[in-house]
Symmetry: C2
Subunit: 283 residues, 2 copies
């Protein structure tokens, strides 16, 4: 199997026009937040943020397959003591573009930035907005199953009786059996809350999110040989993870320094022979 990694230098809303429509399985990205990273990206004013982002999401909509998924990592900042609304306005605007707002995952940052203020606590979570072109999309849930704790086990045992009664009367035969199947397994499906720490290592590249974040969504929404796109590549976390997981990937970055740094660290084409099981490194 041949896995390609394609890196582009430039403004993603322009570069994306070169790509064919319906060609990407997963878009995972974390755009520069409003007024953040001014030194590298110039900073986008909160009032102009939606207007700035919409041309890009329009291109993303075009290149995404109907079965594909767009995961957007974002969080509104505090301005004058209150939360900005540009994320909510962005969601509403993207729906008008045709996007389905399927779900909102929560990334719980266990090691959030410290600080103390009279009127608020530390911000320990970010949004992971899931958008789709269609109600039907690819989702490989069994790939992200997690070990079940004893605590959950006992809980399910207690609930199983009530579950069987209620759901069998509703649906028929299916649901109650699922529950009993779970008891025999030691794996359970996760929820829409993800617990991950940010990586604050001394390396040159300071990634905005830990590798575990794109890894989880790449597992969930793609298979080996599929294509992953990150239009705001930054330090390249998404691209490195996708490559390691045997997914084709496309990374676009407007800052030359970042682009060159990623380019120097990645192999554009890799061959995988007689390997069916992937080894993703750390999980």
């Amino acid at each position: 199997m041949e896995i390609n990694t394609e890196l582009l230098l430039g403004d993603c809303k322009e570069e994306l026009k070169k790509f064919p429509e319906n060609s990407v399985d997963l878009i995972f990205t974390s755009p520069p937040y409003a007024d953040q990273r001014k030194k590298t990206y110039g900073g986008i004013h909160p009032d102009k943020y939606v207007e700035w982002f919409l041309p890009t999401t329009e291109q993303l909509f075009r290149v995404l397959k109907p079965t594909g998924t767009f995961i957007l990592n974002i969080k509104e900042k505090v301005i004058n003591g209150e939360r900005s609304t540009y994320v909510m306005e962005l969601i509403l605007a993207m729906k008008k573009q045709g996007w389905f707002w399927t779900e909102e995952f929560i990334w719980h940052k266990k090691n959030c930035y410290p600080g103390k203020w009279p009127n608020r606590f530390r911000d320990a979570w970010e949004r992971l907005l899931q958008f789709n072109k269609d109600k039907k999309f690819n989702m490989y849930q069994e790939e992200v199953m997690v070990p079940m704790g004893n605590w959950t086990k006992t809980r399910l045992i207690k609930l199983s009786e009530t579950d069987k009664e209620r759901d069998e009367s509703k649906v028929g035969s299916g649901f109650g059996k699922n529950i009993s199947n779970w008891l025999n397994r030691d794996m359970a499906y996760p929820t829409n809350v993800l617990h991950l720490s940010t990586e604050c290592n001394n390396k040159n590249h300071s990634a905005a999110f830990p590798e575990g974040l794109p890894e989880w969504f790449i597992k969930l929404f793609t298979r080996e040989g599929d294509t992953v796109l990150d239009p705001f590549m930054g330090s390249g976390t998404t691209i490195f993870v996708a490559s390691r997981m045997k997914r084709n990937s496309i990374g676009i970055e407007i800052v030359p320094e970042y682009y060159e740094m990623v380019q120097s660290q990645i192999e554009p084409v890799e061959l995988y022979l007689f390997e069916s099981k992937a080894k993703y490194g750390k999980t």
Copy 2:
């Protein structure tokens, strides 16, 4: 000290007009979600939700003190495979009413209800939206401090012997004071992510949220003798907790069965004599 609990039967947006303005310190409520609880509340169509809710928030704005806080527990439901937008539209509309959208807390439901769907995972979180009338409001952060993480944990093992000495020297020399300063550093301020399990009590009424939820916000935003309001009282969780914590409380409920049930279980007036330390039961 005399603590009053006032219960009203009726539509809260009407009942609230009887109350003077600027008289409530904390509003904590979980309104009927759109199209949920149809049997008891009739159900509100998602498209009409904002329109339905705004007259109530207008009254809430009126009765809340300038230093007070409004905590709204809400979550959008899934309709035709995608998340509704009525919560976001509500926030935008409330801002036009004059509310400050100060913060969004996340309630991470550690034991959310089991289930399996082909296109989504179990929903394990809800929003706790904080609104204020002013940038300045009362917040008693030290009341909700939590034990610190592992750095101190390992240290506490070594300190255990010294800990004993502290108790002995409490009465006597000033040696204990140094230690207590150390121990103060074992507590840290929490974040805006709350981890609470849903309660599975055997009572007839199924509370929408666990007692720990209103308890945390009552600790954080009020003091003994302050006034807490829940305009959608339901099974009365907020009222019971407020009463136990020696706060005056006002509960409004439109369903007679709920109203009577709460009324039969609460003392309208309670006297507390010569007690300076509160015992809230479980923390």
